[in-house]
Symmetry: C2
Subunit: 707 residues, 2 copies
Amino acid sequence: MLHRNVFLLLLLVVAATLRSRADDGYRLWLKYDRIADAAPRQQYQRAAQFIANPGTTPVLRAAAGELQRGLSGLLGQVVPVVAAAGSRTGGIVLRVDAKASANGQPLKPEGYHIFSEKQNLVITGRTDAAVLYGAFALLRQVQMRKALVGLNLTSNPRINFRLINHWDNQNGTVERGYAGSSIWQWYEMPERLDPRYTDYARANASIGINGVVINNVNASARYLTAEYIGKVAALAGVMRPYGIRVYMSVFWAAPKVLGGLPTADPLDPAVKQWWTAKSDEIYKAIPDFGGFLVKANSEGEPGPQDYNRNHADGANMLAQALGRHEGVVMWRAFVYKANSNGDRFKEAFEEFQPLDGKFDPKVLVQVKNGPIDFQAREPFHPLFGAMPKTPLVLEVQLTQEYLGFATHLVYLGPLIKECLEADTYAKGAGSTVAKVVDGTVDQHTLSAIAGVANIGSDRNWTGHPMGQANWYAFGRLAWDHTLSSKTIAEEWTNMTLTTQPAAERTIVDLMEKSRNIYVRYTTPLGLHHIMGESIHYGPQPWLAKAGRPDWTAIYYHKGDSLGLGFNRTATGSNALALYKPEVQKQWGNPQTCPLDYLLWFHHVGWKQPLSTGRTLWNELCTRYYTGADSVLWMQKQWAQVQPQVDPAIYTDVAARLQTQRKEALWWRDACVLYFQTLSRQPIPAPLVPPTRTLAEVKSLVTIYQLK
Amino acid sequence: MLHRNVFLLLLLVVAATLRSRADDGYRLWLKYDRIADAAPRQQYQRAAQFIANPGTTPVLRAAAGELQRGLSGLLGQVVPVVAAAGSRTGGIVLRVDAKASANGQPLKPEGYHIFSEKQNLVITGRTDAAVLYGAFALLRQVQMRKALVGLNLTSNPRINFRLINHWDNQNGTVERGYAGSSIWQWYEMPERLDPRYTDYARANASIGINGVVINNVNASARYLTAEYIGKVAALAGVMRPYGIRVYMSVFWAAPKVLGGLPTADPLDPAVKQWWTAKSDEIYKAIPDFGGFLVKANSEGEPGPQDYNRNHADGANMLAQALGRHEGVVMWRAFVYKANSNGDRFKEAFEEFQPLDGKFDPKVLVQVKNGPIDFQAREPFHPLFGAMPKTPLVLEVQLTQEYLGFATHLVYLGPLIKECLEADTYAKGAGSTVAKVVDGTVDQHTLSAIAGVANIGSDRNWTGHPMGQANWYAFGRLAWDHTLSSKTIAEEWTNMTLTTQPAAERTIVDLMEKSRNIYVRYTTPLGLHHIMGESIHYGPQPWLAKAGRPDWTAIYYHKGDSLGLGFNRTATGSNALALYKPEVQKQWGNPQTCPLDYLLWFHHVGWKQPLSTGRTLWNELCTRYYTGADSVLWMQKQWAQVQPQVDPAIYTDVAARLQTQRKEALWWRDACVLYFQTLSRQPIPAPLVPPTRTLAEVKSLVTIYQLK
């Protein structure tokens, strides 16, 4: 009877404890909740009775620790870690083997192989990190309820450096961050290391990220001081067991600001010496330091051009300063002149393409996915395929600067894939951006990809719960760009929201369509850069004056009484000529140019019929309207999965979808009403004209720009 | 056997669940963890078998809900809520009674009385809010393990408006915030209301806070737009069930920026009309809106002086605009002229004291605790007691702008109490600041107190776990300023960290001494405003040039070859004359002036012997050294309580104390080395001179000011 009471009490406590732990999203896709169904759980229990880890290195301990944590949670019983399997079977064995291969092929240093051996599952690879990645892969199998019996799984990363770029400032703010403040608590370091850093490292390692640029490319010199190097070193110590190196963005004028030198000229011996000494100082504190990321002579940042040197002069000097150490220099190509008279589309190309072949072997040039700036849809950057002698880093933005901040549900898998799969024709058909970036087109040994973080101090990391999927998708694509956006969405959904098949399908479908829906209600048919000034929130297609002409909207949409769009063909800015002939051919003819890119390259008459059978004006209106209405569809789809999703997450997303619907209408109304002043055409039936006036919408936009 | 297995499994799950829930500090002092000892738990169980709530209003539901949540957690069993006790005994009865009194005295509208009746405990008061406060008081009894049997507890608030002031900006940053970004997610509102807002309201209600100014006094006009009024109204809906009204800080020039008027002159009829219409618009959305807080003609903010009107003209116009509604205007007295040639100490007094009697009855003037700006120790502001016809709001700062940010452990109870208990002698001895503020000295019916929030989006709200105590202490003192700082520290410690008596004593002792320790290693003997420029972090006593002379350090410490300190007697700025003669007498003589205020009022020779027997220089050095060494003592004390405190909290505080020790030495070395250049005296034995040079310390300070 006593036992029975205690039993009931325990039941109560368990119930209360479980009830009180609504999912706050902190655990991301590493939830490890107990598998509810007994049958599959017992199968996994039989296959994972122990973890044998003969290694004692921090990385192997992290791998074994994560397996133990994950499996114990998923299986509802503690899975012991032992040093060796001995004669035991039914367990998981970690094994580092410098000669490991799979299917007759040698593994890459970070590649893993999971296979059955003597009724155990072996996770092997040539390095500790490889085993760590294999451990996460095995956990993913269980999280997705896939069988372990007979598992034979091999995976190698296609890109060497898989980096998160933080645009985090030293004062705790995050440039273009919409998920709270920076997760880095600089004032507390090095003495206090927030446990969150470890969870951040775990999340990154689980998707194959192996480098983190800790600070904003608009960089403070602060990070290069001894004080901050000590702090960064402490952070590096947290990242190291998870196979992650830290990198820094550097302020070009640091030798002046910190070193007291009169110049930051890259060819000045004292400057070179300062950077060499600084690199040595950093490597003394952080032996596996990753290297430098540099934004120079861009948007007001200092750089080598201040001394009549070029980007290669600057990058090479830094590379030589790193000289004896292992690190690399990633030099950003996101530049455009202070007074751009031509077409900003062409500027990075014009500055960088002629420098191909002039960079030090330790330099990579970092190029945004498109030529302007992380718009909802851009054609691939023309530098891809145009600098065969230089390894190019693909930079994508995970934080939704131009994609609805943390209020709009936009899964970026399709956006990133669209760029990766775009064919540059650099070495004939099939020379995709992905293959340029992974080095296979031009046989580079260095390769890298960077995602600008969408995370912050918000409990759930990304503000929008579904924003986590963008972090996840980036990591997975950085590891293997051949994965489909849909596969990745399925993985993430299974691990994060539900394993119930119908709900999974509904959510994945919603995710997969979300980016095109966003494009339709904000910038259909190739419109771009018509968002709110400076804050980049909401629509402002009427913006005609700004600090620079290429910060206005009219610079980009070129709307007038005749039509809409930027003529970038030979009769216009001729930016199209930066692409290979095959691409030019595809996009150069307004009749064959995909509608998604139409207004990127052509000024099209309002009454011009398009391939859809509608005139430009009617198609434009139709897309704005159907786009905005698609958010209603998104809401309905989401409502369907309510029974399968944690209530806290469900409610959160449902509320954000309400905001998204409201703001989709805002975009729709702002854009059709404004463009109507140019087209002087009626909103085509059966679409119902907005009930508010353009003036009303304009004043709404103004609110979000009030200081 | 089956039962036994299930039982063991449950045990495991319970253990795992408990283990995995390290205390992240989110629950503040409302932890409600199950009482471990069976005997007291069973006693409480007998006294709290049900909660009878006959009321259906949101506030009563919140009260009953909180009691249920709290008691169910503490007692480890669900306590049911019923509509009426009927004949049941051993429960808790909520009762609103418009005529409620206690001990023959009528209760104030928010005052509560808890007493035994027919073997039930009755929580009564004249209003729903009173019962809510009583509910939290009852929970506090249990949290502190005090007996419920025979409980007879009455408490009335001494101040009407008990406000948190948020310096939160519309872009999500928090001015002088060190705990992440703003908790307000404006982009998501009104559709999404973060569950955190409810927990914020619960925490405030639990300590008697009844008003929240949601935005920074350096205000954006944004909050006055229809868009944002809708968002604020949604937030007000979350606060309302917890007895909390929302207030706004307003931007003086809003009629120009938003209304398109050519002026913001308070005497202009169109301006008046604009504010009247705006108030009506706000009250339509938020019927219980609290009112406006205004920072005008201060530090660059616009105000009525731009039109040659005075502060009363401005405040009265706003009060009349509120006219038909219930709200009030709180007008800040924190002003100092753009070119202050005299003594900033005197400026607010000189501008405001002459306006006494000229303010509308709905206006309160909000005065910081001291005359400069939230220094670690200030004499009370001379306006207290000098404006008998005007209700004065006491403004204290909970965010540690000048007290070590979120890295230093400084319990502010003693600081706030020091101000509250300071005697203004306005109506003879005993006319304390507390009695001026609560209205008893001058028979005001309006009374208010404001604390500038130290909270942000950090999981534990305040960054430093012990910073929570400052939020708590402010609320408790706002409710009842006669409570001792120590009593409040005991309450908070019991509710938040431990109920074990020896550990409680150790922690409370540490807290009680912490503020004086901070003063000793940063600004002993009445030094003030010698912190790092603009960022206010670290020491910078050598600061001689800044945007304004009164933003330097030398303006305040007046150090020279002869001595140190600001002569504010009749032979100096004569700021002392702003106080009543009794105060002047106390502080005017350097022989009798308390050493804590010495350099606030006197320029003292370096070799001048003080009451301690040491010269000024030797005393100064002694205090810097003993202050810095006291942090070692704090570390030792904290180490002692490790077994009694949650491991996550323990580790967090221990690490921050390490940083505090490092920075105490930084302050010590910076100050003694710099002042030594003036005193030209040796560091007195047995103190050991700093091993670093002044130049080294200066460069360390510079790091934290790098852009």
